[in-house]
Amino acid sequence: MRAWLACCVFALLFFTQSHASAQPTQRTVTLWHAYRGAEQQALEQLIRSFERTQPNVRVSVLAVPFDAYASKLEAAIPRQNGPDLFLDAHERVSSYRARGLIVDSDAVLDLARTEASGAGARLSASDVFEQVSLDAFSANSHVWGAPLALKCLALFVDEALYVRAGSPPLDELESLSAFTDGRLGEGVVPLVYYASNAYFHAPILHAFGGSLLDPADGRYAFVGERAERSVQFVTQLQRDHVTPQELDGAAVSQMFRAGKSLAAISGPWMLGELGDRPVRIVALPRLRQTGQPMRSFVTVEGALLAQHAREPALARALAAFLVRADAAQVRARVGRQVVATRAAWSDPALAQDRTLQPFLRAARVGLAMPTHSNMRLAFEPANQALRRALRDPAALRVALEAGARRFAVGTRPLPPASNPLWLQLLLGSLALTAIYRTVQRARDPVFRQSVRASRTAYAYVSHAVIVVGLLVVSPLVVGALTSLYAGRDGALSYVGTANYREILTAQGAGLLSSGSFYAVLLVTVLWTLANLVLHVSIGVILALLLSRTWLSLRGIYRVLLIVPWAVPSYVTALSWKGMFQRQTGAINAMLHMVGVEPVSWFASFSTAFTANVLTNTWLGFPFMMVVTLGALAGIPQDLYEAAEVDGASAWQQFWLITVPLLKPSLLPAVAMGAVWTFNQFNVIYLVSGGEPDGGTEILVTEAYRWAFTRQAQYGYAAAYAVLIFGVLVLLTRALDRVTQGPARPKGENS
Amino acid sequence: MWQRGYHRAVSSLSLRGIRKTLGANAILKGIDLEVPDGSLTVLVGPSGCGKSTLLRTIAGLESPDTGVITLGDRDVTRAEPRDRDIAMVFQSYALYPHLTVRENLAFGLRLRKEPEKLIRARIEEVSAMLGLDTLLDRLPRDMSGGQRQRVAMGRAIARRPKLFLFDEPLSNLDAALRNQVRVEIKKLHATLGATMIYVTHDQVEAMTLADQLVVLSAGTIEQNGPPLTVYAQPVSRFVAEFLGSPSMNFLEATVAKDTRTLRAEGLSLTLDPARFVSLKPDQRVLVGLRPHDVQPALDGPAMLTLAIDVVEAMGFEAFAHGHVAGSHFIARLSSEAHALPKPGDTLGLTLADDRVYLFDPESRRSLARSVP
């Protein structure tokens, strides 16, 4: 019967797998991208025309959510399940190259040059493509992607406010400081931009002659005199009220769209959010103080040829097609991209385009984002340093140096490879011991009899054991074993327990220094405790109220109170993050109504932590409430009558009857809740994102950062995971002691 | 309608050498028992004596380590419960909580793929017999304990099994209901004429219901026979003490030189030598006297002297609790005839008939000669 049921389920499943078959006569080239909206529309239009030119070719397009894009590529390409061609930004090229995920695009560029040259003299690559885009993709005398589009920062100016301001020249940033006197209107500021983000700070840094990273040797450079002067400059802008403090990307576009600021520094992504507000876009100005232009980082998107492509020739043809001048014009017109193909701009409409041209000019003076693999590692420490320095100008130098140290931790030399012999010996001897023990036990007749008696039970559990063992336990074991390896970007070598040693000794820094395992553990424990206390107390109070029959409407109340449980947590976590926004969030708007100053929720540990806890309390209390409601239903009512006869007050009844009798049903739920909260990823990652300075990071999110944002140091992340596991095992052991200790229900006082 | 003996298939049950061990505990230590066709056999004993395990072994829910179970002329020792054609009423009633009364009654019949028409007829019969007509569409959780108990019995009856098993079916009912249902079960047995085995720890149920009474103790059958015989001729102190309410009184005494007189402090009894195995002078014995077998010594000499602590007057009778020779002793007094004694009084007692029980203090076996 059970087997029959299982067969049915799986037969049904196989019938639903219809899309797996492919047609043999047609050739299919696969393209992956993470474009959305107009860019996606333009891309699909181009693919249709490509298919028209190649009748027997079908392009299979997959649009992947950005959050899953990198991990999907990394998982799929080495196992030959990846695309033939994919679109990505040039910063990730060095990482892809290091892991052998892509091949060079020299042939594509040749094709493009040949096509562009036509009958005339053969053009050079820089005649066909913007120089900055070639810079971005060049490494080791190869080009690693066919440049499609440029993304960089420009200055957005509100047309109406600009006219009201008397159309001043905008070639120097400091000229905006003339408008701090409120003549633009109540609450209108001259400039908004995401000052605490290193990407947005980079143009100013560059104007001071500084850089985030030495492009040649990948040395962290956001430290020292030039960096300090660039930050001081921004501090001065904020002191002079040229630009407000504590803005993030969302707040910038919100304020600008609402007409609350004359200018904004932002990228092309803000275009879609302006609605029909008239806007003038210009290239970033100079700094009067240094006389240097603000050179934005330029990110170049390109078509990358995947390793292990099934249709490499078609992939090259498709890439060459996408960068053709006419295709680029479609991308520019429909997708509103700042295309890298020079010839595309000869189109008269595009040559006059008031949106794209300023971006093109900005990109031409910009700096290609360094492709050194350290670049991605530099942003996290640089952002933290910048935020701290802007919040506390007195600690400027300290903050910048802390950033440099943090960078050094991320790029520390890999531990030396050791011989896996010891591991093999250890595992081998463990296995031998286990076998020996089993054989010993198997000889014991009592044991044999109990095994024989267990056979019925084995028939019931066998398939669960197999499936869970295969799909849950074995990946976990493999994952745990990776903790003995180290390496960046997926190239792993065996290092023994070096990862654990580094984590447990806090990499030589103070044991409780920010970001150390112990500091994060402390935050995690605090986080778990705070949540549990709130979940249980709110859950129990509400359940007590809802269990009263005299409370009218309690059915409706209960339905409404379960809502947080029923909505997917990533949706509500993002919603809460929005509500905690300093400038645009609903929480500060509410505080404003009662006359409280707006709070920068993610600027200090206590408020960021509070925001996380508030969000998770919201998510978690319904579960406890429902469990308590169920448990309350199991308490015999006559106990309360007996207690009342005995003269117990309501308060005494609660402590002497309700609490002890709730305990047995609540404790398991609390234990479960503790484990869930301890590993609650979504809330921390989506709400505070570890702000400020990684201070509210918990162990799981820290592990995630090592795995996915710090050059994919899987071994290190796996060691974190194993340690989390260890801590949780100890924690539940302790909880078990509490549950099974002397604290038995002692409520039968009647 | 229901007629006595609705099935004439022979449904006697015979157990031979049933042993059962769970872990290190021997639960049943060799049970031999014949249950005649159409009888109501009651297994009685204190908790832990193995009576429930024996019943579950008969049902096939436990399988014996050794021994043979024969139902009718079939060896069912290793048969599955469903192949034994038995029905069981559980202490907890075990009504299927997701099924209505009607569906509960029909459950076994449906499993056996009986035709719907027959099922409907049976349900009608059973509900008429047990007065379940108005409850048929209710769920078990919407009924009282007494109603559930009826449904549990109805479910067994509807099946018309060879053998009915009852596992303490009345223990979850209140006293008044228990008495009422007990009588109903007795009537039911008379109506159906079916073979029934009934497990209880309550000696009133055991005495009133049984055709055959089986007293179990620590995994063995202590005594087996018609209830009045067992009551009158207990083979051991255990059986004697277990049956009868209030329990039999026990006093230690010594046989006098004449081997016909027993003596102890406050006690002097002369025995009918024909009733007992030969007693030796100075032999120590345990004297058993039922509270109902003593009466105040009004004219003759007192055989024992009771120092009264408490008197319980029940209206038509009274129980005097007190001490004889340092042992706790209860005497029944018929209250209408005499003024009741008071606490602190001493009361001379004599025997109503010659109902004295003697036990060996070591082996605790009866010393009576005519033990069956």
């Binding site: 019967m1 959305r36 959050d67 991990s71 499936v467 295969l470 336990v473 919603s575 645009t584 | 069981m88």
Partner: protein, 287 residues
């Protein structure tokens, strides 16, 4: 009337209502924000305290509901079907795998390996998934289950199994053994007794367990996006996540999509909420 159910004086009752209403407000406020974002023509949250759309329109819902693929497939319908198939199959598979195991743990709690197995099961719940995503991918690849809904279902179902086993074990423990024995005496095989008596008696717990498994599959997108490589095979949350980009997000559409994704789960929740109260505690989450 018992002491707890005797109505207190009016001020107390009002205070109780006030407390519950405050909690309801707390529970609904962020959800109302999502609703207002979804109904607002603009793409951004506005800095206001009241969740009320500035320029109400149904554009976002239209955009989400009527998205079509390049080939002209009605993506929303397709992905909704995918989500329903994957989640329902996940729930069924998880229940099918967990039920017998939970039953064995409840009825034969002392079989050899029961304790260590339970501990191992509990341990899987404590190991963060970060480390196992890539090994899982390799495994599915080896089993040729990558890019199939079957593979996704297996992964979801097995991750749901440990919790389901704990949940159901508690439920089975609370069902008296007498019931099965009565059924067996009445003529059922052990299996019939299990299917016709034990399972129906455990219905509330089964429903709740299935709901949890369903929800975990319904809301997951990282694994789905990593394992599936055809847009027509994507589940709804993957499509929903497509509205969140590297630099920005289409908040309106994301919110509209969120509401659409949440509605079926909420409907199930309310359909099962009575069971939820009973099913979680009738021995429920015994760890």
């Amino acid at each position: 009337m018992t002491p707890l159910q005797r109505p207190p004086p009016l001020p107390w009752r009002m205070a109780a209502h006030a407390a519950v209403i405050a909690a309801v407000g707390f529970a609904l406020y962020p959800v109302l924000w999502v609703v207002s974002l979804a109904l607002d023509g603009a793409q951004r949250p506005s800095g206001r305290a009241l969740p009320w759309p500035v320029a109400p329109s149904l554009d976002h819902f239209r955009a989400v509901l009527f998205a079509h693929s390049r080939e002209g497939t009605w993506l929303f319908a397709r992905q909704l079907t995918n989500s329903i198939v994957v989640s329902a199959m996940t729930a069924l598979t998880a229940i099918a795998i967990a039920t017998p195991a939970a039953y064995a743990l409840a009825r034969f709690p002392k079989f050899v390996g029961a304790q260590s197995g339970t501990k191992a099961l509990l341990a899987t719940q404590m190991f963060p998934g970060v480390a196992s995503a890539i090994p899982l991918y390799i495994l599915l690849d080896k089993l040729h289950l990558l890019d199939t809904q079957l593979g996704l279902i297996l992964v979801y179902a097995t991750t749901a199994v440990p919790f389901a086993i704990f949940q159901l074990r508690g439920a089975f423990e609370s069902i008296p053994k007498d019931l099965e024995e009565a059924a067996m005496v009445d003529g059922a095989t052990r299996l019939q007794a299990f299917v016709r008596v034990v399972l129906p008696a455990a219905r509330p717990a089964l429903a709740v367990t299935a709901l949890f498994a369903f929800m975990s599959a319904w809301n997951e997108f990282i694994l789905a996006a990593t394992f599936l490589s055809h847009e027509s095979a994507f589940t709804l949350p993957v499509a929903l996540q497509r509205h969140v980009g590297e630099y920005d997000a289409a908040w309106g559409r994301f919110a509209a999509g969120s509401i659409i994704v949440s509605l079926p789960v909420m409907a199930l929740f309310y359909a099962l909420q009575k069971n939820l109260v009973g099913g979680l505690t009738s021995g429920g989450v015994k760890g």
